[in-house]
Symmetry: C2
Subunit: 233 residues, 2 copies
């Protein structure tokens, strides 16, 4: 049961990741079986959505019973490719790049930061707190080949992003997590995910709206908000 991955939506793929994490929670709690309904209730998801998502990849459940927690988790881990270690390269050894290089979420669960690149001679050869050496971008193609790097994380300045991105995919990197504000125009077989902090902030600013004057709020403090939640089942 294999499906063309490119036909699977970004949102479905992201949910699979969530499912894995949530199943992990159940697993540590010793829960053996779970129905889509119970799973949805527990983690505030939609049961129909769960079933649809899973059905894309096979029939993992048993009618009348539900899903076997650890088995389903293993299946999803395999579908996400997390049962093999993915080597990650971070390109741009600035504050953000070095922070990410040492970030636990980037160094666990199937991922390993294998290299950290920069083009600044003053940085090359130095090490991050966790001991990862900064390598010259000139060595990127060879390092990608040698270390089997599959994922690139772009934390260079915006002006350098297009060039750094091209270098990555020309070296054989298959996926990029782009923290810069540049838009990349990657070839279609390279998967790019943009994590544009500025866009995220500006989007939040939009939803806050324009009402309040720059200095301070007019409401009496403290105020507690109503906890309204349209819960799904």
């Amino acid at each position: 049961m294999t499906v063309d991955r490119r036909s699977v939506s970004e949102s479905t793929a992201a949910r699979l990741s969530l499912y894995v994490r949530s199943l992990g929670v159940l697993e540590t709690e010793g829960v053996r079986h779970v129905s889509s309904h119970a799973f949805a209730r527990r983690f505030d998801l939609s049961s129909a959505q769960i079933r649809k998502d899973l059905a894309t990849f096979g029939e993992f459940g048993v009618r009348g019973v539900g899903y076997e927690v650890s088995l389903l988790r293993r299946h999803l881990v395999s579908i996400l490719g997390l049962d093999q270690t993915r080597s990650v390269a971070i390109v741009g050894a600035g504050r953000l790049g070095t922070a990410l290089a040492d970030y636990p979420g980037f160094r666990s669960g199937g991922f390993a930061v294998a290299a950290l690149f920069d083009n600044d001679p003053a940085k090359i050869g130095t090490r991050t707190r966790s001991g990862l050496a900064v390598t010259s971008v000139a060595d990127l193609p060879a390092s990608v080949e040698r270390l089997g790097i599959e994922i690139g994380v772009l934390t260079v300045p915006a002006e350098a992003a297009v060039e750094a991105g091209r270098l990555c995919w020309e070296s054989g990197i298959a996926a990029l997590l782009n923290f810069t504000s540049a838009r990349l125009n990657a070839p279609s077989d390279v998967h790019v995910k943009n994590v544009d902090l500025k866009v995220n902030l500006e989007t939040l600013s939009f939803y806050i709206g324009g009402g309040s004057p720059p200095t301070r709020k007019e409401e009496p403090w403290p105020r507690t908000r109503n906890r309204s939640l349209p819960r799904r089942t």
Copy 2:
């Protein structure tokens, strides 16, 4: 011409941010007018999409002519609320939090990092490289009030995220950028944007697929990929 912001989709809001940035580029190039078609071609967008997005907020163009670049930009800046300074608080003074606190994208264009919080006594009172002091989370409510903080950035460990999030919205923070893997269940008037690095990495891993063995690629190197691009107009 005002629209209920909550009825505007996340993707539309994100595109407005992109439009502002792109219009800025045209402005510095001295371009006075632009049609939706030319704008789309230049920045690889869709002209119909641009017109639809803008039409949500008013009639900014002139038929037969197009849009006046700097005027449209000012309109969008105002719609996004970027003409006023938004105070941002970063909660969690770890590697990521301090990196973000000093990140230029977080300190420009209508945003200012007004405070950085942590609950670790060893960190409280220390300063980031750019000189921002780490404040105790106990002072968060008072600081939010005093500094008019509207946006919170969560960079605490996952276990602390739910509590930190609640503290934020109970203190009056209207929007959260959540870098943790925790899901927040915020009240409906608090806008939360999740930037879950683990989910992003795992999604990329999904699209890379499972084929290749962990060590190295089998293709001859270097290989340049086909630059196939379904360009829109």
